[in-house]
């Protein structure tokens, strides 16, 4: 079990955004997190990544409690993420965005740089190559020298994924990775996520696009008004009566 979420509750003033949410994410899974707007999905991702604290409850990553750790310590354990409202470094080029994302894996000591040693130069070449590999994996290596702020919407989402990959995380949290993307872009991202999972990375993703989630995810958790309705394989989740009522609408089974 890579990630265990146990009885997580989060209040914002008088609003209970999450109410005793519990589920687990297995190692190597592509785990979907769905639910109507305001269900608490992004809040949960923020809590897992250490940006928000839970009001109560616990989260274990590889058996270690992480609910009280600051975001940078959670990241150091191997959790990377993207943001729903894309957070790139707009004044850096795509390549620089990914090089910046190598913070946890690149040493970049100052002294060899001050002395202009060959080791510093070879490390810089190395960083560049690894960053280019991340960009090409996300399918935007042709944009390497473009400023992050100058990309199209879909490219920004992919650059964010490329930057998250730069630290070789164990768990990748994707907050609406294909929102606003056209169909062929969605398929590329879907293929990318599959190939990451095939490499042993675990993925927890939020997405509104049902076709995308149902086809891609091995397990799905449904949230509504801060509560978990159900967790299961896509076929079961899609036919769960409460899910159909609360989220999909009507009484039709969506597979």
């Amino acid at each position: 079990m890579l990630l265990e979420i146990a009885e997580v509750t989060r209040d914002f003033g008088g609003v209970r955004a999450l109410d005793r949410v519990s589920f687990t994410v297995e190692t190597g899974a592509i785990h979907g997190l769905i639910g109507p707007n305001g269900a608490g999905k992004t809040t949960l991702i923020n809590i897992i990544s250490g940006i928000t604290r839970p009001t109560s409850g616990g989260i274990r990553f590889r058996g270690k409690p992480i609910e009280a750790l600051p975001a940078y310590r959670v990241a150091a354990l191997g959790v990377a993420r993207t943001f729903q409202n894309i957070r790139l470094f707009p004044a850096m080029t795509c390549l620089e965005n990914v090089i910046a994302g190598q913070h946890l894996v690149a040493k970049r000591p100052l002294l060899p740089r001050l002395l202009n040693l060959p080791s510093a130069r070879s490390e810089e070449r190395d960083q560049r190559e690894r960053a280019l590999a991340c960009l090409s994996r996300a399918g935007i290596d042709d944009r390497a020298e473009f400023l992050g702020g100058n990309l199209s919407y879909g490219e920004r989402r992919r650059l964010e994924i490329a930057r998250a990959l730069a630290s070789s995380p164990r768990l990748l949290l994707l907050d609406e990775p294909v929102a606003g993307m056209h169909r062929s872009g969605q398929q590329q991202v879907s293929a990318l996520i599959r190939s990451l999972a095939a490499d042993g990375m675990t993925i927890l993703l939020i997405e509104h696009n049902m076709a995308f989630v149902m086809e891609l995810c091995s397990r799905i958790t449904v949230l509504n008004f801060g509560r978990v309705i159900t967790t299961g394989v896509p076929a079961d989740v899609a036919c769960h009566p409460q899910v159909i009522e609360a989220y999909l609408g009507g009484n039709r089974c969506h597979v």
């Binding site: 975001a71 990241a75 990377a80 910046a100 913070h103 473009f146 199209s152 630290s167």
Partner: protein
């Protein structure tokens, strides 16, 4: 050679002062590089200047040791202020350092050891122009190389987006504090050099207007690269002399011209004057492939 010696006889002070201002501008640049605004760097220069001056005057400390002590004390004070304040985001550092600058100035006016409002008089005249420029070159080299290090990349990330930086593993509070303290060390060192240049320093040398001048040097020059603030400091420090050369006397007009330059730069060159010389990254202008059209 005759020309050079004549030039230095007339403008030696100005040349030295340009170097001092460039160093102080760089001290603020380090903090700005992490997206944090400090209005306390004049006060750190005061701490460095008074400390070094008192040590050489009253305790006959060697010049280098006095400079080091001033720089380290300024850095230590910055660390103590920065660590609690920089846990927060936003304008809190500007507010705290604004208050801190006044505290230092008023303390310097009221303490006996600092010579009160009159200032510290009779500091041995150890500083030389070459030393100022050697220090400036060393600081420039350090900052240019620092940018390629783990520290430099972390600061750039924090400046661009603090939340994203934290999510990819940057310990934002520590890096911001380090950047602030490093800036204070540079300011403190510069203050020490300045103190040994003219026999005396006074509280007014390090007032609020100096702190704002440093910010203006950075904005006019540009804060994307280390040479921006250096360029800004050279330009704005030399400007009154240049204006005098064309018949405009210094005084209130200097403020007006500075303000005008600042306004024009903000309006037309938001990344500072150095953006005129920086290589342009690939942009989207006229490139239809990058315009966001794939919404479907």
């Amino acid at each position: 050679m005759a020309f050079l010696s004549q030039f230095f006889a007339i403008y030696g002070d100005l040349v030295n002062f340009i170097g001092i201002n460039a160093l102080l501008a760089l001290s603020l640049y380090v903090t700005l590089a992490a997206g944090q605004l400090s209005l306390g760097n004049a006060a750190f220069a005061a701490i460095g200047g008074y400390t070094a001056g008192i040590l050489t005057m009253h305790f006959h400390a060697p010049y280098a040791a006095a400079l080091a002590a001033g720089a380290l004390l300024a850095g230590a004070v910055a660390f103590l202020i920065g660590f609690p304040v920089l846990r927060l985001r936003g304008v809190y550092l500007a507010m705290a350092t604004l208050a801190f600058g006044e505290v230092v100035r008023i303390a310097a006016i009221n303490l006996d050891i600092t010579g009160g409002a009159q200032g510290l008089v009779g500091i041995p005249n150890y500083s030389r122009g070459w030393l100022i420029y050697l220090t400036l070159a060393a600081v420039c080299y350090l900052l240019a190389k620092l940018r390629q290090s783990r520290f430099g990349w972390a600061l750039e990330s924090i400046r661009e987006d603090e939340t994203a930086a934290a999510a990819m593993g940057v310990d934002t509070t520590s890096y911001k504090t380090l950047a602030f303290a490093l800036g204070a060390v540079i300011a403190g060192l510069t203050g020490g050099i300045y103190a040994h240049l003219h026999f005396l320093i006074a509280p007014r040398d390090f007032g609020f207007s100096v702190a704002v001048d440093l910010l203006v040097f950075n904005i006019v020059g540009g804060t994307r690269r280390w040479y921006g603030p250096v360029f800004g400091a050279i330009l704005l420090t030399a400007l009154p002399e240049v204006l005098r050369g064309v018949g405009v006397t210094a005084g209130p007009l200097r403020m007006f011209v500075n303000g005008l330059i600042l306004l024009l730069v903000i309006l037309f060159l938001p990344n500072g004057l150095v953006s005129l010389f920086m290589p342009k990254p690939t942009t989207t202008a006229g490139d239809q492939a990058v315009v966001p059209v794939n919404k479907s």
